[in-house]
C-alpha cells in the first residue's frame, strides 16, 4: 500500500506496489573485488534475454568494448587500468589517501612486481586493474518506474523493476529519469521487434517466477555476481567489506546498500574498490521523484499565477 515512504525513505517496494504476501525482495550483490572481467555475465544475459548485438567497435578503453549499460547491453563490465599511486578522485583527500601503498603487507590485490633495482622509479607503476559488472540497480525508489506513463515499467512481486515489452510505447521518459543511466530505448538492429521500446535488466523476471537464478549470476565464474534475498545480501556485503578491511584493503566500500540513501537503497548493490564515479556510477544518486511534491507545488503556483494573470489581463478595461 502507498505510504509515507512511497516517494522517499526506506521501503519494502513490493507491498508498496500492492502485492500481498510478496516473496522476499530479490537482488544482486556484485563483489568487484573478485571480478575477473570475463564478461560471462554480459553474454549469459544476452543469450537468455535475446538481447541483440550492441556495437562492433573497439573502443580503446582497456578491455571494455561494450561502452555502457543500454538497451542492448544489460550487463556491462567496466575495466579501469589504474596506477594506484595516482589518486583517482580529487575529493575528499582522505579517501584518496587510503589508496593501497606498497608498505601494506597483504592487500589481497596485486602489486605489479617491484622492478629491478636499476630501473628508474617512474617505471615502477603500482598498478591496479579494476573490473566491475554493472547492471540495473532495481532501486527501492525507481525513477524509471515512477515516471512511466503507461504502466509498462512495473514493480514485480520480487521487488524488482521490469519493463513489459507488450505495453511500452517508447515514450523514453524513463531514460531521462534514471539517475544511473541504465534504461534506454532500443535503436537497433533493424528488424528487432523491440526497437523503439525501453529495455533493461529484468533480473530475469521470468526465471525468478520458477525459482531459477538470473542468467548472469548463474554464469558468473567467481561469484562476483551473487543473487539472493536483498536483506541477506546486504548482510553478506557488510561482512565482505569488513573482511577486506581486515585484510588491509581499505579501499573496499559498499554502494547502494543503504536503505536511507537517495534511492532508498538498491536491489543491486556493489562492493567497489574505488569511488563510484571511477566505475561510471553517480557518487550520491537521488531519485528525482523525491522532489516531485515540491515540483507539483511550484507548478501549481505557476499555473495559478497564469490563470490569475489571464484574468487580470481582462480586468483592466473592456472595449
Amino acid at each position: 500500500m502507498t505510504g509515507p515512504h512511497s516517494l522517499f525513505g526506506p521501503l519494502d517496494p513490493a507491498p508498496d506496489a500492492g502485492y500481498v504476501d510478496a516473496p522476499s525482495r530479490k537482488g544482486f550483490f556484485t563483489d568487484t573485488s573478485v571480478c575477473i572481467g570475463c564478461k560471462a555475465c554480459e553474454v549469459a544475459c544476452k543469450e537468455w534475454n535475446d538481447v541483440p548485438e550492441n556495437l562492433y567497435e573497439m573502443l580503446g578503453t582497456s578491455y571494455d568494448n561494450s561502452h555502457s549499460l543500454n538497451a542492448n547491453q544489460w550487463r556491462h563490465v567496466a575495466f579501469i587500468e589504474q596506477p594506484a599511486g595516482r589518486s583517482s578522485v580529487g575529493l575528499p583527500p582522505s579517501i584518496g589517501d587510503a589508496a593501497p601503498s606498497r608498505d601494506s603487507v597483504d592487500l589481497g590485490m596485486p602489486t605489479l612486481g617491484a622492478a629491478p633495482t636499476d630501473v628508474p622509479d617512474d617505471a615502477k607503476p603500482d598498478f591496479r586493474w579494476l573490473m566491475s559488472s554493472d547492471v540495473c540497480k532495481h532501486c527501492t525508489h525507481a525513477a524509471c518506474l515512477d515516471v512511466c506513463p503507461t504502466g509498462s515499467l512495473f514493480r514485480s512481486e520480487f521487488g524488482t523493476v521490469v519493463v513489459q515489452d507488450d505495453i511500452c510505447n517508447g515514450c523514453g521518459y524513463c531514460v531521462a529519469a534514471c539517475p544511473y543511466g541504465v534504461i534506454d530505448r532500443r535503436r537497433g538492429p533493424e528488424g528487432d521487434p523491440k526497437v523503439g521500446i525501453a529495455q533493461k535488466c529484468t533480473l530475469c523476471y521470468d526465471r525468478l517466477t520458477d525459482n531459477q537464478r538470473p542468467a548472469c549470476a548463474q554464469a558468473c565464474p567467481t561469484e562476483s555476481i551473487q543473487y539472493g534475498d536483498v536483506d541477506e545480501l546486504r548482510e553478506r556485503a557488510s561482512a565482505r567489506v569488513a573482511t577486506l578491511h581486515e585484510q588491509g584493503v581499505m579501499d573496499a566500500r559498499l554502494y547502494g546498500n543503504d536503505p536511507d540513501d537517495g534511492v532508498g537503497g538498491t536491489g543491486a548493490m556493489f562492493l567497489l574498490l574505488d569511488e563510484p564515479e571511477v566505475y561510471g556510477l553517480p557518487p550520491d544518486p537521488v531519485v528525482t521523484t523525491k522532489d516531485l511534491p515540491q515540483m507539483a507545488r511550484r507548478a501549481g503556483m505557476a499555473a495559478a499565477a497564469m490563470l490569475a494573470g489571464a484574468a487580470v489581463s481582462f480586468l483592466r478595461r473592456t472595449p
Partner: protein, 314 residues
C-alpha cells in the same frame, strides 16, 4: 561562473542518459504553451465580447493542440501504442498526469474551437446539431480555460522530474518560466491575429508573461548550480540569448507599439519566437547536461565533500 571543478569519470562517458527525444518535444513544449495560453485568452475574449481575439485564440488553441499531439506521437518509439498512455493514471508520472490533463483540457478546448470554426460557416450550412455545437462553445471554452494552466505548467515538471541535471536543478523556477513563456507566446499570437481594438488583454498577458519568464529565468539560473553552464554554452546558449533578446524586444515593442497593428504583430511574433527559443534552449541545455558526466558527478561529489549526502532523515 562556477570554476571548472575537478572530477573523475569513466573515460568521460556520461553517467545519466540524455532523454532520447527529438526536437519534437521542444516544439511540443512551445505548442502546448500556445494552446494553453490561447485557451485562456479565448475564454476571456468570449466572456468580454472580443470576437476577433476569441477567434484567433480559439484557432491558436486548436492549432497548438493538434500540433502537440502530432509531435508527441511522432516522438514515441512505438507510436501505434500511443493510447497505452491512458492505460494507467500515475500521479508520480508528469507524463501520465499531463496526458490526463490534456485528455480533459483537449476535448473542451477542441469543442470550443470547433464551435468557432463552425461559426465561421455561412448560416445556411448550420443545421441543428451545429447550432448545438455553437451553443456549447462558451461552456466548453470556459472548461478549457480552467484546465489550461496545468497544461502550460506540467511540462516544466515533465522536464524537471528527470535525472537530467539542467532540468532537475531548475525544478523550482521552471514552471514559472514555462507558464510565463506560454503566456508570452499566446499573447503574442493574439497580438498578431487580433484587431488592435481587441488586443489589449493579449498584450497585457503577453507582456506580463514575458516579464515573469525573464525574471523567473534569472532566478532559475542563480539556483541551478553548475549545470547552469549548459544554458550558456553551445546551442542552448544561442537559443537562450535569442530568447532573452526576442522576449525583451517583444515586450517592449508590445508596449511601445500598442497603437500600431504592424508593430503589435511584430512584437507578437518576437514574443512567440522568444518563447520558442526558451523552450529550445532549456531542452538543449538538458541534453547537454546529461551528456557531460561533470554535471552529474560534481554536485554529488560536492555534497559528499560537505558531508551532506542525500539521506532519509528518520
Amino acid at each position: 561562473m562556477v570554476p571548472d571543478a575537478e572530477f573523475t569519470s569513466y573515460y568521460g562517458r556520461p553517467i545519466v542518459k540524455a532523454a532520447p527525444w527529438e526536437h519534437d518535444i521542444a516544439y511540443y513544449l512551445f505548442t502546448g504553451g500556445v494552446a494553453a495560453g490561447s485557451s485562456l485568452l479565448a475564454a476571456g475574449a468570449d466572456l468580454t465580447g472580443r470576437p476577433g481575439l476569441r477567434r484567433v485564440a480559439r484557432l491558436g488553441s486548436l492549432g497548438g493542440l493538434l500540433s502537440s499531439i502530432v509531435f508527441l506521437v511522432h516522438d514515441l518509439g512505438k507510436p501505434s501504442r500511443f493510447l497505452n498512455m491512458l492505460r494507467v493514471a500515475k500521479l508520480t508520472s508528469p507524463m501520465s498526469v499531463g496526458t490526463w490533463i490534456l485528455s480533459i483540457h483537449g476535448p473542451f478546448a477542441a469543442l470550443a474551437s470547433m464551435s468557432e470554426l463552425v461559426g465561421m460557416l455561412p448560416a445556411r450550412w448550420q443545421p441543428a446539431p451545429v447550432r448545438l455545437l455553437l451553443a456549447l462553445g462558451r461552456p466548453a471554452g470556459l472548461a478549457g480555460a480552467l484546465t489550461a494552466p496545468p497544461v502550460a505548467a506540467y511540462t516544466a515538471v515533465l522536464l524537471a522530474d528527470t535525472a537530467t541535471p539542467a532540468w532537475h536543478d531548475a525544478y523550482e523556477e521552471l514552471p514559472f518560466v514555462f507558464c510565463g513563456s506560454a503566456a508570452a507566446a499566446s499573447g503574442g499570437l493574439g497580438l498578431i491575429g487580433a484587431p488592435l481594438a481587441e488586443s489589449g488583454p493579449a498584450r497585457a498577458f503577453a507582456v506580463g508573461g514575458a516579464l515573469v519568464e525573464l525574471a523567473a529565468e534569472r532566478r532559475m539560473e542563480r539556483s541551478m548550480g553548475i549545470s547552469v553552464e549548459t544554458l550558456h554554452d553551445g546551442d542552448a546558449g544561442r537559443w537562450m540569448r535569442m530568447s532573452l533578446g526576442l522576449t525583451a524586444a517583444g515586450a517592449v515593442g508590445a508596449v511601445v507599439g500598442r497603437r500600431s497593428r504592424v508593430l503589435s504583430a511584430l512584437s507578437g511574433a518576437a514574443l512567440m519566437a522568444g518563447s520558442f527559443s526558451t523552450r529550445m534552449g532549456v531542452f538543449e541545455a538538458g541534453l547537454a547536461s546529461a551528456k557531460d558526466p561533470k554535471y552529474t558527478v560534481v554536485p554529488q561529489r560536492e555534497r559528499l565533500a560537505r558531508g551532506e549526502p542525500v539521506r532519509h532523515e528518520h
